[in-house]
């Protein structure tokens, strides 16, 4: 019930907290604190999970580290603020976290209604279904009457309702709070189907005792563009998060990697030089040090490296780049130019 307690605490922060937590100055706050607080999930293999030594690892965590590298010059100066699907925005808006890197779908109501600022997409996802092979189900259209495990407070909850209504099917929603509880309920047979983003399904499947006994159905029923979010009202901080993400994508496009970033400093390509802070004053304009993007690539790597290290084909998750390949390679990853 820790999540519950923190939701109440966040509400209490709204009651008693000093006004100003949500106003401009996040960069100064982070720099004077010396540590970046990222709102992450309570544990999704490959995306955000503590390793055996209790150090947070994963795709989303690496982007948080990249932000820390850009802002503080040290990728290790980050702190994970765990949150369930339900508590994440409250925690961000109450100022418990500086930025949210937590496989969060960008939607109209979250952008406008929940008053968040989104900064582009770091993973193009879509909602899918996972079932036990033994059920003999091959399509989501055959799921009429099934019990479906679903995480509360997510967009998947709404997509699911729409999908079953559109196909004139009935289902029993079994609403749970975290990915782990969902897995337990799915494993025990409390539900026939587990539904969440396809990336989350791959992650959950990889953590099951016999991943081969489970299949992810071919239907992808929604668009789930996942991306980082910050609070309204701090444009400078918004710019920083936006361009941290863009820097990793641009670096991949320009062929700048963790290994060659030092040689690249003497590249002939003017955009590489601008990215790495050799030319121009982009770091200064952001309010950061001149080598902010260099620090990201040096310590964390480019987008492709982050992807392959945490969730790519050579990891237990084994996810193909697909939509998340660069635009030059048939995907959707496209960063505005560093100019």
């Amino acid at each position: 019930m820790k999540q519950k307690a923190t939701a109440v605490l966040s509400a209490a922060a709204l009651l008693f907290g000093a006004a100003g937590t949500a106003q401009a100055g996040t960069l100064e706050d982070v720099q004077s604190r010396g540590v970046l607080r990222c709102v992450v999930s309570t544990g999704i293999a490959g995306f955000a999970q503590p390793d055996a030594n209790g150090v947070w690892r994963g795709f989303d965590v690496d982007f948080c580290r990249a932000t820390a590298a850009a802002v503080l010059g040290d990728a290790s100066k980050m702190e994970a603020v765990t949150s369930t699907g339900k508590t994440r925005f409250t925690k961000l808006n109450a100022g418990e976290g500086d930025v949210l890197w937590r496989n969060t779908t960008i939607t109209f109501s979250r952008d406008v209604g929940v008053k968040l600022r989104f900064h582009g997409v770091n993973y193009y996802d879509g909602q899918g279904f996972m079932v036990k092979k033994s059920l003999g189900v091959t399509s989501a259209k055959q799921l009429d009457g099934a019990s479906v495990c679903i995480q509360t407070g997510t967009t998947t909850e709404l997509n699911l309702a729409d999908y079953f209504a559109a196909n004139n099917m009935k289902y029993e929603p079994v609403t749970i709070e975290t990915n782990d509880e969902a897995r337990q309920n799915y494993e025990s047979g409390r539900c026939d189907v587990y539904t969440t983003d396809a990336s989350g399904l791959s992650s959950t499947r990889s953590a099951l005792p016999n991943p081969g006994d489970h299949i992810v159905l071919p239907e992808i029923i929604s668009k789930e563009p996942l991306g980082p979010a910050t609070r309204h009202g701090d444009d400078q901080w918004s710019d920083i998060v936006t361009w941290v993400l863009n820097a990793t994508i641009t670096a991949e496009e320009l062929g700048v990697t963790m290994a060659n970033v030092d040689q690249m400093k003497s590249s002939k390509n003017p955009e590489v030089l601008r990215l790495l802070g050799v030319d121009g004053n982009q770091g200064q304009e952001l309010g950061l040090s001149q080598d902010w993007a260099y620090q990201i690539i040096k310590q964390i790597g480019n987008y492709g490296e982050i992807f392959e290290r945490n969730i790519g084909v050579n990891t237990p998750l084994g996810i193909e780049r697909g939509l998340n390949a660069l635009w030059t390679k048939g995907g959707l990853m496209y960063s505005p130019p560093f100019r």
């Binding site: 019930m1 519950k4 939701a7 509400a11 949500a22 509360t152 909850e157 025990s188």
Partner: protein
Amino acid sequence: MTTLTNQTPKGLSRLWRNKESRGVIIQIITMAIVFALLAAIGRNVVVNLEAVGKDFSFDFLSWPAAYDIGFSPFIEYTNKSTHLMAGVVGLLNTLLIAFWGCILATLLGFLLGIMRLSSNWLVSRISYVFVEFVRNVPVLIHILAIYAIVVTILPATRQALSLGGDTFFLSNRGFYIPAPIYETGAGWVGIVLLISIALAIGFKRWARRVQDQTGKIYPVFWISLALLIGLPGIALIGTGFPISWDIPELKGFNFQGGMAIKPEFLALWLGLSYYTAAFIAEIVRAGITAVSHGQTEAAHALGLRPNRTLQLIIVPQALRIIVPPLCSQYLNLTKNSSLAIAIGYMDITATLGGISLMQTGKEMETMLIVMGVYLIISLLISSFMNWFNSRIKLTER
């Protein structure tokens, strides 16, 4: 006094020295501080919400909720219903669990409390060990444990345990039981049932009056039972059994038809009930022990049999001690039911205070509503228990 009132220049210090007016002044100051604090909190809320660009409004209650609720036994709810309806579904689920929880907790609690006082060593020890174990483990752990047991130990739907010749089914998706279908004529049976209840109550009053006047005692319980079972039974036969049963049947992924007790409800209900029952057992024990043994001896000396002694002498006196703390336990149980969210039972904290909060981003508004709802439920329970307490209190003549 007149000389004092003439000294007007020292009015203020005179007010302070007077005991009564000093009390009033202190109260005014305290109230001022409290209101200032409340105003500061209110201002903080407004300022902080404005800082993140949120307005304070309850308009979202009429927006479509867009999510489904798995457990809505009383009213029709679809994802096209409003957030308000989602809240109502949650509220009804909260009331359902609170109602059945209080009943089971009371029954179990009285049973355990009386067992604890038993002269049989084994019976009393069993109760003692159970009470001590249960009340020293947090209620959330109990709920999670029962839920885990229900979901992992019971068989899956397709291997469901069939009881009573394929009419009852037990699986980890719930306990499926036949549902009654009322056909034409069932209404008459219902009317006869109501009449027999009225007759039973009337008979009890009449028997009481006769006893007060003449001392003659009728076997009220047995005659009432005969009335309550016999008359509707005759009506059933007379109308030719207008009730049939909808028997659950495995179709596709799940059982269709019948009624189901879901594992979420079961885990929450049992967990809350036996946890609260452990506390009630101690209250009952204390209440009965507090009645002086001399009362029993006196009753026996007057020639009352042991069960009449318990019924007329011990219990009425013990109840006076039991009822006020029992009320607190009912309140605890009701509030603890908000732990439902841990296992996915859709109470008001899970619907309006959970999913609706999340989908609309209205933290302050939803939390205020949920708090208000729990406050109202608690006050209703308190006032009912106060009424009950005043009914059974010592009548002094």
